[in-house]
Structure formats: structure tokens, C-alpha cells
Amino acid sequence: MNKVFLGIDVGSVSINVVVIDDEYKVISKQYIRSNGQPLESTKQAIRNLRKEIDAKYNVYGVGTTGSGRQLIGMMIGADVIKNEITAHATATIHYVPEARTIFEIGGQDSKMIFLKDGLITDFAMNTVCAAGTGSFLDHQAERLGIPIQEFGAFAKRANKKVRIAGRCTVFAESDMISKQQFGFSKEDIIKGLCEALVRNYLNNLGRGKKIHAPYVFQGGVAANDGIRVAFEKELGQKVIVPEHFDVMGALGVAVLAKEYIEFTKEITKFRGYEAADVDFTPTSFECSGCSNLCEVIKIEINGEVIAMWGDKCGKWTNSVKAI
């Protein structure tokens, strides 16, 4: 049976699962919209995986990343739990080694990562506004009554130039409404929106920093060709969209898991595909120990408490023995 490594990216909008083999080749990938149910979606992804690869491959290592990395990592027994910036960059360094700047636009945040000689040198992350992220596009697609998948095609059909303010979602939205009332077509407005998003992204994240080509564009929003075209127009350079652009985080953490296992020669902590069937119950309660009234999250597997967090003082966090 062949060795494989698993990478899981638990993001705000989607759960991505990638399986790579010993030669870093992608054997299987899944991109599942989590619809606010990251736990259930992950279980579903693991069940899918069992059907797909269990008979042929042995899992030697598992990594998790994304905002839900701790919880899911604990649930399935991850060897590596890494932040998504390092994970994304690792994948790009591996699969597009010449890259110098990564544009990553996801559901609730966007990042710009700077690379040099195969190392991250710097990064920027959106801070306060959702204007440069996928959820904003989602919202606008819904408002215009267009499936988000067709956004790119619409933008490409535009023939007029429409300028939409990109600084803030409120400004952008009021601009869009007034432009609609002037009689611009949906196509033109979507193109204007893509350009506004790119402008906002570059201004906000690139602030005061030098960006170098080659550029790589990844994350769920890279599926939208309109944005890629807007990037190329703004930068006057080609922008590479890698083959597995939508699962780069998961891919990166799979690579990290592989490297970790090979370096330490450890045996994986993976709980097996049965992890999808265990009774994994997160609950929460309000601690009344002081006026902070922290919301403490408690995780139980088959009735045994395996983790607690959310308390400011560490009273509950430290009450659980590390496993």
C-alpha cells in the first residue's frame, strides 16, 4: 500500500481536504462549502475519503490549518497544526517555486505573502474591512441575482467602464446601486466591482511594501476569472493561478505534515477514518468565576473531556491534561 499524507483546511466558508503521495502528487482533493457547519462538513469529507482511497493507500501523516485548525486537529489527531499563512506559502513554494508574491483571497480574510529564495519574508492580512474578500463578492452576487460561479464570465462580457468605490463595502454598495439606476448593465457593474476589489486589496495590503513579480493568485476567489483579469490590468503583468488554487492551504499543510513525519520519523497520531464516526461534542457554558463571564468551550470525545478553551484566566484550559 502506498504512503499518503492528508491536509485539511478548515476555513470560514469551505473545508478543503487534500491527499498527496510520496512524490507530492495530488491524489485527491475536495472543496466543500461548510455552510456554517465545519464539524459536520469535515466528517463528511473524511467519509468521502474513506470511500475513495482507504483500500489503496495508508495515511502516514495529517496536518490541519485554517481558523478551525485546533478543533478539527484535535478531532482527527493531526500531527501538524499550522497557521494558514505558512501553509499557503508552503504550497506555493513547492508547486510554483519561482513565485515572489502571493495574493490569497479567501472567504473572510485576504492575505498578501512575500517570498524570497523559498522563504516567507513578510506578509499582510486585511484588518478591519470585508471589502476585499470573498464574502463581499458572495453578497453582491446574491444581490444581483447571479450565481457566484458565473461572476468571471459576466465580467469578461463587459464593454463599458464603470468605476466603483473600493474603499469600503458601504461605499461600494451605494456606488453600485446608483450605477445600476444610471442604466449600466450587470456585466459592466460586475467588472467595475472586480476592479474595485483589486484596487482595494492592493492598496490595503500592499501599503508601503514593494511587490515583485511573478505573482501567484490563489484561494477560493481565484476561481473568479474577472478578478484575475483585473489584477493583470492593474499590475500590467501576468498573474499565475496554480492548478490547485482553491485548496492551496490544505495542500501546504499536507506538505508540512509529510516533511514533519519524514524529519521526526514519528508514527502519525491520525485517529483513522473512524474519526468521522466518533461522538464529538463541543458544548459551551458561561463561567461565573469573575465578572469576565467568559464563554468556555468544552470538547468531549465519547463522553471524555479532551479540551477546553475560551477562558481568560486559564482556569479551565489548564484543568485538562494534555493528551
Binding site: I120, R207, G208, C294, K312, N318
Partner: protein, 365 residues
């Protein structure tokens, strides 16, 4: 008089000052969710976060019977200079009528400082005042010295949160001292506590040292900066802050001829990038980054309250200077948000960058 004051780092020294001057201290509570909510509710929306938190602390202390509020003034042309007056106006409109005593730097307004200070020092003679001051000055520098040792050891502690527990103990030991002799004993006792903390041995080339710079309240008060020192410690980083209470005393209270203040020196280092004092601690922030670089630190975490004007200026200069002098800087804007996931990601990635580039340099040499 029942006197209260803002909560910024350990309140021990302020509490002692009030107590030794013959007043009753109403020690503020460490800012909790409730205090912050109260403060946000009763402050102008666009005010800086520290002002809102302090607002909440005052309301909390007034509810517990405080009559007088003692605070420091701002530094240069920055909104913090209006805090006192703003707080007073808002508190009055809420129906509280505390007496406000605001101490500006002694070097800027000597007469005003003395006039304000006299209001709380009626009960003691000049001679007593001198010895109280000397005692507290010693106490604050002792405390800072001990805290710095913990900031180093926390990176390598074997039992999680042991350093925090020792720090709590140190504060309660110092709380019981009133004369110089006790202070010396207390310090010895605390030193033993610190020496007893078990730590991992880490090779010198793998150690990471981070300096925290920025606006003073955001840097010093852990309840609003997502416990930055502890977070960095848990990632195995030694930490130093740009602001310590004993340094503030040296800068603002001790007469210049006796002062060991490094403030002038730090500002000079920042002058290349910010020529004049623009208020708050912007020049110091930049100066400290240069200073930490010279001391061989590996990285800087820059904390600013969201929309803090002086720190916005330093934030804009940082990318350029960070390139020029060659030290990575991570800027984090703080506000009401309590979710830590986003910032943990930033810090983790930031430390990854530092660790990897350090490893690479080491391997190359």
C-alpha cells in the same frame, strides 16, 4: 480621600502611593468584559480604545465609592491630552462628580504639577514625601527587574503558566512591604521564586527575542492587548516592552539631573524617521525599534489602538525603516474585538518567518 486611578499593568505602585500619602485607595479592577462594555457605551464612538477602557474602569471604581480620580496627562499633541477633561465631562453627565487630579509631566509644567500634587499631599511633610517617593521608585524598579526575568523565562517554562503564578505571588509579597528593609527582603524572596522555575535548555542560536513597542496603554495592559506577552511566550519568545512603569517615573517625575531616563536617547534614535515629537509615543516607538535592533532583537510587535493618530504615523513609516535597518515588524491594531484567532495566526506566521530566516542564517555561517 478615596482615590482611584487607571489600571495599566500592575496597579501596585499607584495603590501604594495613595496609601502612603494617607488616603484610601480604591484599586481598579483589571478591565473585564463588563468594564470594557461600560466604557464603550459611554465614550464617543471614534475615541481611542484606551480612553474607552479607562472610562469603564472609572465608572467601576466610582460605583465602589471612589471620590477622587488620579491620572497622568497626555504626551504632546495627541488626543490623550484631553482624556482627563473628556472623562470628567462624561462622568458629570452620568451623574458622577468626582474630583479629577491630572498630573502632567513635571518637566513640561512644573508649577501645575506641584499645584496638582499638593492636593493629595496635604497630610505629609516634604521630608516624608521624599522618602515615600524614594521607596516607591525603588519598588517599581525592583518589580520591573523581576518582571523582565519572567518575560525571559516564560519562553522556556516547562509547566505552563508557572511564570504567571510566580508573578501573582511577587505582587502579593510586595504588597505587604512598607519600609526599605522589607523591600530588600521581599526582593530576595522573589528572586528565589524565579530561580526555582524549571525551564527547558535551548541553544543560544535558537532563542528568539521580540520587543513590543507602541502606544503605552496598549503595550502595558494585557487585558486589552490579547495578552501579547503571554502569547509570545507560549510560542517560545523572550519578550521586552518599550514601556515600564519605572522608566515612566524616570522620564516624567525624577528631576533631570538625577534621572537615568533613556527617553532622550530613544527619541534621538527615532529622529531620523520622525523629526519632531508628534505626540503620544510615536517617536519613542520608532526609536525603540532602532534600539531593539541594536541590542540584537529578532523582531518587533507594534501595538496600536485602532485609529490612534501618532501610531498611524509610525505605522506608515515602519515598512520603510524595517527594510532599511533589517528587522521584521508586525503591526497589530487593537479595538473591542475579543476573538483571538486572527491575531494568533498573524503572530504564529510572524514567528515562523523569524525562526526560518534565523535557521537559514545559522546554517549558512
Amino acid at each position: 480621600m478615596k482615590i482611584t486611578f487607571p489600571y495599566m499593568g500592575t496597579p501596585l505602585v499607584y495603590k501604594k502611593l495613595v496609601e502612603m500619602l494617607g488616603h484610601e485607595p480604591i484599586t481598579p479592577n483589571k478591565p473585564t468584559q463588563r468594564i470594557i462594555e461600560q466604557g464603550v457605551k459611554n465614550s464617543p464612538e471614534f475615541a481611542c480604545f484606551p480612553m474607552k477602557v479607562i472610562m469603564g474602569s472609572y465608572i467601576d471604581a466610582l460605583e465602589r465609592g471612589a471620590e477622587v480620580i488620579l491620572s497622568s496627562g497626555g504626551n504632546g499633541p495627541c488626543r490623550a491630552g484631553f482624556y482627563g477633561q473628556m472623562h470628567e465631562k462624561i462622568l458629570n453627565s452620568l451623574g458622577y462628580n468626582p474630583k479629577f487630579i491630572i498630573l502632567d509631566s513635571i518637566h513640561r509644567d512644573f508649577k501645575g504639577f506641584i499645584k496638582n500634587f499638593k492636593m493629595i499631599t496635604q497630610n505629609v511633610s516634604l521630608c516624608q514625601l521624599y522618602s515615600i517617593f524614594k521607596f516607591l521608585h525603588k519598588m517599581s524598579s525592583d518589580l520591573d527587574q523581576l518582571e523582565m526575568q519572567l518575560q525571559t523565562k516564560r519562553a522556556y517554562e516547562i509547566n505552563r503558566v508557572e511564570c504567571n503564578k510566580v508573578w501573582e505571588k511577587i505582587q502579593s509579597i510586595f504588597d505587604k512591604t512598607y519600609i526599605k528593609k522589607d523591600l530588600i527582603k521581599a526582593k530576595e524572596k522573589c528572586q528565589i521564586l524565579i530561580d526555582d522555575i524549571n525551564i527547558r535548555k535551548i541553544p543560544e542560536n535558537e532563542k528568539i527575542r521580540i520587543g513590543i513597542v507602541g502606544e503605552i496603554y496598549a503595550v502595558m495592559e494585557s487585558s486589552i492587548n490579547m495578552k501579547m506577552e503571554e502569547l509570545l511566550g507560549s510560542f517560545g519568545c523572550e519578550v521586552r516592552r518599550a514601556h515600564y512603569l519605572s522608566h515612566w517615573i524616570e522620564d516624567n517625575v525624577v528631576p533631570k539631573i538625577f534621572s537615568k531616563s533613556k527617553d532622550g536617547e530613544i527619541c534621538k534614535k527615532g529622529q531620523k524617521y520622525i523629526e519632531v515629537a508628534i505626540g503620544g509615543h510615536a517617536q519613542q516607538t520608532i526609536g525603540h525599534i532602532v534600539d531593539y535592533k541594536e541590542q540584537g532583537f529578532d523582531g518587533i510587535v507594534h501595538l496600536m489602538p485602532f485609529a490612534c493618530l501618532p501610531e498611524l504615523v509610525s505605522q506608515s513609516i515602519i515598512p520603510k525603516m524595517s527594510n532599511e535597518i533589517g528587522i521584521p515588524v508586525l503591526t497589530i491594531a487593537l479595538d473591542e474585538q475579543m476573538g483571538v484567532a486572527n491575531n494568533t495566526t498573524r503572530i504564529e506566521a510572524f514567528i515562523d518567518i523569524i525562526r526560518n530566516s534565523k535557521e537559514k542564517k545559522y546554517r549558512a555561517s
